[in-house]
Every structure is written in C-alpha cells, then in structure tokens.
C-alpha cells in the first residue's frame, strides 16, 4: 500500500490527512513537494486541504499549475485513485479532472462545523463503505455549481459521490450548509477513480475527534 500526499505552499491539512492514513492503514504516506515533477507507483494520491497560494487569484487556480500537477493528472487518467479534500477539491476542478465550480458559500462567510453526508454513488472505491456520516466542513468556497447539461451528465453517469443530508439521510434544503446545487458535497470523475469533496474525513477519523465516521472513506480505498 503506497500513498502520497501533495504539499503546496499554503497547504495546511497535509499532516492531518497523512496521520489519518497512517492510523488506518499503518503505512506512512510519502509527502510530495509541489515543485517535484513525478510520483512513484501509487495506490492513492491525496490533494489536501488548506489555502494553497493563499487562495489568491481563485481557490486552487495557482496550485493547479504547480509542476507536480501534470503527473497527478497523468496518474489520474491512468486510473490511480486521487482524493481531493476541500482546497484539494478546488484544485482538482481547476486542473480539469472534475466538473463544475466551487463558488462562495451562500452565507458569504466561512463555515466550520459538523455536517452529515451520504453517498449517492454506492459502488466507487471511495464511497462503497460509507452510510450517513458525520464530519466537519471548513471552507469559504464550497458552494458547488454545474450547468444543467453537466448536471445531467454527472447524474446519468452516477458521478455524485456525496450529498449533504440530515440524520435520517434526507437530502433537503435545510441540510445544505453552503448552497451547493443538489446538496452536492463531493463528485467523482467519469471513471470514478477521482473524488473531490468539501468535508474533511481526516478530521473525523479517531475517538479524540469525537467521531470516526470519516474512516470508512479511507478504509474503502486502502483495504
């Protein structure tokens, strides 16, 4: 089991996700500095959360042009599982690996709190083990949007990974924290080997976090 975590200037969840992967898989992920140009054989590449390049220009835009991203895109197209969390999701969209856009939260403010999500796609390598799960979000720009054509495409192709929901798994406006279209919290690429999600599973992966629901996402990839 070999995993890699990309580190950009301004990444700040790189260590957290590495710790979660280590705890769950007992393998230490390798940290890859963004100026490097290639990644060795990998079973999972994580693009972590944070504020790469200070979110300047547009969240994820500058990081998507970092040297390492060419190889991340290449590996993704070859089928290597790639997981983008929060700012990582923004970067994967900016890299063209995922559809849509992440706009400013509808509240126009940063939101950090626990939310609930449930998988819509139930067969992908990332989502197959997860039920209704609690984990935190922490972002300013997580309001997912795609045009109606693309929406139909990702729906028809079962690319909606997670939706915000309530305790009973109901997807409603009330359970939508940031205004995302169709309560979308995470989406997959066409081949289902790339996942971008706004919630932070690594912050709900041990007892000290008060909740371990995020573990299943890593477990389904790592085992």
């Amino acid at each position: 089991m070999k995993s890699h975590v990309i580190v950009f200037p301004g990444s700040n969840c790189d260590r957290d996700v590495a710790v979660a992967i280590k705890n769950i898989s007992s393998h230490q992920p390798q940290m890859i500095w963004h100026k490097e140009t290639s990644i060795n054989q990998s079973d999972l590449i994580v693009v972590p959360g944070g504020f790469s390049y200070g979110d300047y220009l547009r969240c994820g835009a500058m990081a998507s042009t970092s040297p390492i991203m060419q190889d991340v895109v290449k590996k993704a197209r070859e089928g290597v599982p790639v997981l983008g969390i929060c700012n990582g999701f923004q970067i994967l969209i900016e890299s063209g690996l995922l559809d849509g856009a992440l706009m400013r939260n509808s509240s126009l403010s940063f939101i950090c709190r626990d939310i609930l999500i449930k998988p819509k796609n139930q067969s992908s390598v990332f989502t197959k083990k997860t039920q209704v799960a609690k984990m935190p979000i922490a972002h300013n720009e997580g309001n997912f949007f795609v045009n109606s054509e693309q929406l139909k495409k990702i729906q028809d192709n079962d690319q909606i990974a997670f939706q915000y929901c309530d305790e009973n798994g109901n997807v409603s406006e009330h359970s939508n924290p940031n205004g995302s279209l169709e309560n979308i919290a995470g989406i997959l690429n066409e081949n289902k080997n790339v996942l971008g999600m706004m919630p932070h599973p690594e912050r709900a992966s041990e007892l000290a976090h008060g909740c371990e629901d995020g573990k299943t996402i890593f477990e389904s990839i790592l085992n």
Binding site: N12, D16, G54, F110, R113
Partner: protein, 734 residues
C-alpha cells in the same frame, strides 16, 4: 502648547508629533550629546512610546508573581514558556491590537493574530491554538455590527489560512467600548524544552539576516498611534494600520521551523510593533552588543524609501536573525525553497551602538543603552477610588413567577448567548488535535502524537473591574483557573493583556494598580504565575476611558485525555450537584444588567482560600473518575450555567432545590462555584471527598427528560431555550 524656552534646532512641533514629551527630548539630547536627526528621532519615538517601553506600567508589572516549578521562561521574551512534561513546553502570550482594529477591523484583527503567532514561533514553537478576548460597544450601537463582523472575519481570515485552529475566546458588549473596541489575540505553541530560541544577539561579526516579506510604507508609526488617545479625527490614521498576508506568514512559519531543526540560528526576533527598530534594538540590548545595519540592503516593496521609513515601517511577516556564518548558505536555500526574501543586512559589532548606513552614508548612531535601559520610566500618580458598595437584595423585590421568562431573556442577550455565529467562522479543527471545541469552559487541544492535552481559556469581567478593580483583577485570573479545572486540567500559568485608559489620569492609574494587586494575590495563592503579557494604555476616545480590562489567558495541562470534561450533561438519572456556597450576591450580575438594565450593587468578592479548596476538590473528584460533566458557575449564575449544560447535552433536569429567595439563588454571581454531574453510584464518595476537604457540596437536581423543571416554579423546553440562546449574537449581525 508652545514652550517659550525651547532652545533646540529641532522644531518643537516635530518632537510633539512624534509623541515625545519635551523633557523626554531633553533626555535624548543629553544621552546623545547632540540633537537627534530625523531618523534617530523616529527611532526614539518608536522605542519610548508606551507600547514598546512600558514606561507607565513597568514598575507595577514587576510586582506580579512570575516564577514557579513549571516556568521555563517568564515575562521579558517574545512569549512565556512552561514545562508540560516529557521534554515538551508550551509557549504562549496574549497581545492587544485595539486601535488598529477600531480603525480597520478586518486588517487590524488579522494582523493582531499574525503578530502574536510570530511571537510564538519566533521561540521555536509550532503554534497549535489561537484564542481571543474581544470587547465591543453596545449591541445596538451603529458601529458595533460593522466592527464585530470585521473583527471576526479578520481573525478567521488569518487563522484559517495559516492553518492554526481558533479554539476559543470571549466576547462582551458594553457602552464603554463604543469608541474603542478591544481585540486581544492569544497564541499557544508547543516546542521541545531544549529547542527554545531567544533574541539575544551574539558573536561579533556574525551576519544579521532579514527574512520574510519585503518592507513597504505600511504601518509607519503604528506603535506611536497605539499609544495615543482617539478623537474625531482618528479615522485619518487609517494608513497607519498594517495589512496582513497569512499566506506569507504560513511560508515564514514553515521556513523558520525548518531552519530551527538545524544548529544555525543564534538569535531570532520577529518584527512586530516598531518593525526593524524594535527588533534590532531588542536583539542588541539582550545580547549587550552593537549592530551595524546597511538599510540599502533591506528588501523593499516601494521605491525610494528613506532610512526613516525603513526603520519605522510595520510591514508584516518579517523576521530578523543572527546566524552562524557557516550555515548561511544552507539557511538561504531553505528560504529560497519557500519563496521568501533572505538578505544579510548587517553584522553584530562590539560598539554597543545601533549604527545605520544607507548608500554609504551614516543615517544614525545611537548607544543601545540610551534607547533601552535609559528609557523613561514613570511612577504615575494614582488614586484608588472606593469600590462600589455591595447591595443587599431582598426576596420581596422579585416575582418568582418570572424566573423562567427572565432566564430566557438573559440567555438571548449577546453577553450570555451562544457564540456559535462567531466560532463557526473560525476553523477550530485544523491540525486535527482539537479535543474540546469552542463553547465549553476551556478549549482542549491535544499535544500532537501524545495522549496529553492543554486546556486554554481567556477571561475578564470589566464591569467587576470597574466597580472594584482589586476584586475584578482577582476574578479575571480565577475565572480562567476555574474554567481549566472544570475541563479536567491542572492550571499552570497565565498571560495577561492589560487594557486601560490614559495612565496620566490618577483614577485610571489607580484602576491599573488595583487590578494588578488583585491579579497578583490570586496568582500567588493559586500557584498560577504570569509568564508573559502586554499592556495597552490610552484606550480613550474624546477623554472617556474604557472600563479597566485585564484580559487573562490561562493554560493548564491534562496528563491523560480520558480525564477531559465538558459541560454537556451526559445521562438520565445522574445527579447535578453544586460546589460552593450561594449567598445571593446579585450586585452587577447579568440579571441586574440585563433584566433590570442597571449597573449597581458592587462586585462579588472572592475568598481565595475557599477558591483553592473548591478547585482542588473538583480536580480530585475528576481525577478519581467520579464526575460525568463539569461546568463553572460564572456570569448569569446557577440557572444560566445549568441551562448551558442542558442545551449542550440536549437533556433536561428536575431542579429540586427550594430556596426562600429563588432569584437570589438562581441568578446570584457568588464566586468559587462549580456544577458537577455525578452518577448516583459515585454520589456518596463525592460527598465524602467534599466533607473531608471542607467543601460545600449539595445536590440540586436530577438529569433527565427534555425540560428544565423547577419545583414549584415551572418548566421550560430545552429545545425552545436553545433557539433563544443561538439567536443572541446573530441578531447583531443582521
């Protein structure tokens, strides 16, 4: 003011505009043996203002207890350091950014956070938690909404981006802050005891290195501005507010910590207030050496900057270091990797002078000791005013049928309501070590990779301080102590942030003196020393001072995280018990201020012996695993505290206590009290432990259901109460 005997070449108005008194200027001339040039005048102005020199407060601050078994570094360095076992230390400090935040709330608050973070990582610690203590004017004051939302997004904007969780804090609202809000920011970091970095320059000939951002014209004379009162024209001072860049600070943090793993840094000092001036002089003074700096080598953001501007700029995200010359290239590579400026701008000398060169010309030459040791120090005149009298309230004056209605109104008030609207804008979980999130008594942050944690709390009750500065000073210290104990930790030490009005007014100076006396007594009794701090004076607008506000940040150690307690009620059938006696002290309680709209009745007094006994008892009971949840009884009294426990745990309670004076019992703010949830199985043992330690301990109710029911009075749905509770602060922001 014109002095007809002015005998100097330098214009008198120039001296006054630099915030220097005329006799202070005479002292400069005497020290230099000549009149200073403009650059030198600017340097003296920056070093001798209140903010940097502590000239009014030093004499009194020295009276605070600063030593203890776990104190590794007390006041005088960038931050205080305490031992938290296993070779680990916690490094922390709180600092004010009041004046800039009033002028430009987002940037003022953001750079306040940036500054205190640098103070902590300068010492070699990785910051692990940010907290704050905020005071705004009345909730309905026209400026409050703008200031509150600006400050909150500024704190979040900086902390969220750099990736340090903002885990707690306190906020209150009072008219005395209508024209002068307070923004106090605290950072806690963790380091290894044998890897702490200090600021004393050493090694004649060693390179002085500038790292971080380029220097621009922002923030020139910020510290001088922060040492003056406000008036109608203060808005014009906006350009003196610095602009923060948390992204660069994140790079600076990582680059510094990377370099600190090597044996390369001899001394390091962040450029905070008064920028290059205070950092270079601090390093030279601590090391008893001189520095020669070539200002033309300073990386500049603007063109044609003068020596004066370079020395007084408060551009953010910069550091000054003295390096081992053999490690210079290695250090340069690290900063290059992080895309940061790295420039050798000078060297350590044996002249004991600060010599500044620019384009080959000498711009300043000042003996360091004149700037530091000979800085003015005042024993200001002070008057200690009589504390407000304590009022006895009588049961007949209250209608007990209103108790639940009053409770509802109180917890909706911005002073007591949920702070969720605020903390949801802060990333309080990044680093994945937040064990107790905001909203409990103290935040708890795990020491990464271990099973121990730090409990941290900030507190102060300015109304208590105003009406009795001595008791108020005690209270601010003791409140953090209680919060830390209720979280399951051993309180270790505090940092203080002393926010007061104009010290040249004897009544204000009297408040300062009395608050310090109260704090000192509490710290001594509780073995809870002061390890770092900051003073912010001249918090006045149009001659009106703020209430005395000695904000305290306390830090405690939890050796085993399984002992962490929160205030959430846990289980049906458990008993809720109160520790400490209730004596109906309603004076200046939240009940009197919110329900009766009055400020009267005196400050509750604290018996420090009782405080120590009760606190030790709670610590013992928690360590013996007898307690399910714990909460200190603070502002609002017992019923507000019970409600908080119910709302947090989504559980109800049946309160059996029958008092002859229900309002007094439920809303009094008598001190040294806690609420403990105890399972029936543990109750007898708890009672015994209390009796053995001469601690007042009584059962007041049984946990269960979804209502707060008070025998003979009525009941209230917890869920309905929660709706009111969560509305309070949000009302202001809409």
């Amino acid at each position: 003011m014109t002095n007809h005997n002015w005998q100097f070449q330098t214009e008198q108005s120039l001296v006054e505009n630099h915030g220097l008194k005329l006799d202070e200027f005479e002292k400069i001339v005497e020290g230099l043996g000549r009149e200073p040039n403009l650059t030198e005048l600017g340097i003296f102005s920056a070093m001798w203002n209140e903010h940097c020199s502590y000239k009014s407060s030093k004499f009194w601050l020295k009276k605070l207890p600063t030593s203890g078994k776990r104190v590794v570094q007390g006041p005088g360095e960038n931050a205080g350091v305490i031992d938290i076992d296993d070779g680990d230390v916690a490094v922390f400090k709180m600092e004010s950014h009041n004046h800039p935040s009033f002028l430009e709330p987002y940037q003022g608050a953001a750079t306040g956070v940036g500054g205190i973070l640098r103070d902590v990582f300068t010492m070699g610690a990785r910051p692990v938690a940010n907290l704050n203590a905020l005071r705004f004017g009345e909730p309905n004051h026209p400026k409050t909404k703008h200031l509150l939302s600006g400050v909150v997004s500024g704190i979040g904007g900086y902390g969220n981006c750099i990736g340090v969780p903002t885990v707690g804090g306190e906020v209150n609202f009072h008219p005395s802050y209508n024209g002068n809000i307070l923004v106090n920011a605290m950072t806690v970091g963790i380091a290894k005891k044998d890897k702490i970095f200090y600021s004393a320059a050493a090694g004649i000939g060693n390179p002085v290195v500038y790292v971080g951002s380029k220097t621009g014209r922002d923030g020139i004379h910020g510290a001088t501005m922060a040492s003056a009162e406000f008036d109608e024209d203060s808005e014009d001072k906006k350009p003196t507010v610095q602009v923060g860049d948390p992204f660069t600070e994140k790079l600076l943090l990582e680059a510094c910590l990377e370099l600190m793993k090597e044996e390369a840094i001899i001394a390091i000092q962040d450029m905070g207030a008064a920028g290059l001036t205070s950092s270079s002089i601090e390093m030279a003074s601590k090391g008893d050496v001189g520095l020669k700096i070539d200002l033309s080598k300073v990386p500049m953001r603007a063109q044609n900057m003068s020596a004066y501007e370079l020395m007084l700029s408060e551009s953010q995200e910069r550091m000054l270091m003295v390096l081992d010359p053999s490690k210079e290239e290695m250090a340069r590579d690290i900063f290059k990797k992080w895309d940061l400026e790295f420039e050798v701008i000078g060297e350590v000398t044996d002249t004991k002078r600060l010599i500044l060169m620019m384009n080959g010309k000498e711009e300043a030459s000042i003996p360091i000791n004149i700037l530091v040791e000979d800085a003015p120090e005042y024993q200001r005149e002070y008057i200690v005013e009589e504390p407000s009298p304590i009022k006895e309230y009588k049961s007949e004056d209250f209608d007990q049928n209103n108790i639940l209605k009053d409770l509802n109104a109180m917890i909706m008030h911005p002073d007591l309501s949920s702070r969720k609207w605020i903390w949801e804008q802060y990333d309080h979980m990044v680093m994945a070590d937040t064990v107790v999130r905001p909203g409990s008594d103290a935040a708890v942050v795990r020491v990464h990779g271990t099973n121990k944690g730090l409990a941290i709390s900030t507190d102060c009750s300015p109304v208590y301080c105003k009406h009795n500065p001595y008791e108020g000073g005690k209270h601010a210290v003791v409140e953090t102590w209680r919060n830390i104990i209720a979280s399951g930790a051993l309180p270790i030490a505090i940092t203080d942030c002393m926010n007061f009005g104009n010290p040249e007014k004897p009544a204000i100076m009297g408040q300062f003196v009395e608050c310090i006396r109260g704090m000192g007594d509490a710290c001594s009794k509780l073995n809870y020393p002061v390890v770092s701090g900051n003073v912010s004076l001249y918090n006045e607008t149009n001659g009106e001072g703020i209430y005395p506000t000695p904000a305290i940040g306390g830090v405690g150690l939890i050796k085993d995280l399984s002992n962490v307690k929160t205030l959430s009620l846990k289980e049906d059938g458990n008993f809720l018990c109160v520790v400490g006696k209730t004596a109906n002290h309603l004076g200046n309680s939240k009940y009197i201020s919110i329900i009766q709209s009055k400020e009267e009745g005196g400050t509750p007094e604290i018996n420090l012996d009782t405080e120590l006994r009760n606190g030790n008892f709670v610590m013992d009971a928690i360590n013996h695993k007898l307690i399910a949840s714990a909460h200190d009884v603070g502002e609002g009294g017992i019923l507000v505290a019970i409600s908080e426990m119910c709302m947090s745990g989504n559980l109800g309670i049946l309160i059996e206590n029958e008092s002859v004076f229900p309002h007094g019992y439920f809303f009094a703010e008598d001190q040294s009290r806690y609420l403990l949830e105890v399972s029936p199985n543990n109750y007898d043992e708890c009672q015994k432990l209390a009796n053995n330690n001469d601690v007042h301990f009584e059962k007041i109710g049984i946990v269960g259901g979804d209502k707060i029911s008070i025998k003979n009075i009525g009941d209230q749905q917890v869920s309905a109460l929660k709706l009111s509770f969560e509305m309070g602060i949000e009302q202001i922001s809409h």
